[in-house]
Symmetry: C2
Subunit: 143 residues, 2 copies
């Protein structure tokens, strides 16, 4: 199968607000007022958590179909902590991003605990977003 | 400084569409029709690229201010390739996610090439999203 290429364009509206264009869709990214922003959209790291949920949903349904159990839907609760010191340029030994990301996955299904455990393990290994977060991904920034 | 916690909630609307709630904001995530989706929003991996742009914008402005050069705005072009085979459960040795992410950063500034090179290097090291992508981030999935 051919590789799939994804591209987006983005530009700043102000120092905290970014407008992203992905095909015919737009995302508004901003920071809340207590972080100096104009609070017109989710923060970048909230988008990361959202992207992970969206990916787990798609792959979750693909894998449930393969495993032949009924999946009526999935609810997700995601959380992560980061130390803003690094981002703000203060002295810290902490990393810039989330130290870990926790995802509570609540499938609406009558499948057994054993089936769901196997399902979740497969979903994690095949989800592009969890792969890019859990493993190293080269990020090439150029001017 | 205290750690900052970010949380979002999400639920599936159908096998490809996810509605994410982040504070008072909503994200709609979906797949295009040629990937079996209902095409009501960007894909999860497009959200990852968008989140990276939004993060680089915020940190870019913080660092430009510290370096005391004028930054009128930033434009970004982002791209990545992934092999859908893994996600679809086909046989492949490729990883599930983006093999690399390329970001063209176009600052609207009169700063020198040397200043901008130093700026970009600092921005990359302090951006939470580029940190979470470029380095390993534990993702804990639980039922």
């Amino acid at each position: 199968m051919a590789m799939a290429t994804f591209t987006v364009g983005a530009h700043s509206k102000n120092p905290t607000k970014t407008v992203v264009r992905a095909r015919n869709f737009e995302m508004i990214i901003d920071e809340p007022r207590n972080l100096g922003g104009t609070d017109t959209g989710p923060t970048p790291v909230e988008y990361v958590l959202g992207a992970l949920a969206g990916c787990l949903n798609v792959v979750g349904h693909v894998v449930a179909k393969e495993m032949a159990f009924e999946l009526k839907g999935i609810t997700f609760e995601l959380a992560g902590e980061l130390d803003p010191a690094k981002f703000l340029g203060e002295s810290t030994t902490n990393r810039a991003g989330f130290q870990e990301i926790r995802v509570k996955v609540i499938p609406d299904s009558n499948a057994s605990k054993e089936q769901l455990d196997a399902w979740l393990k497969t979903v994690e290994s095949r989800c592009p977003v969890s792969d890019n977060l859990a493993n190293t991904t080269p990020v090439q920034l150029t001017l």
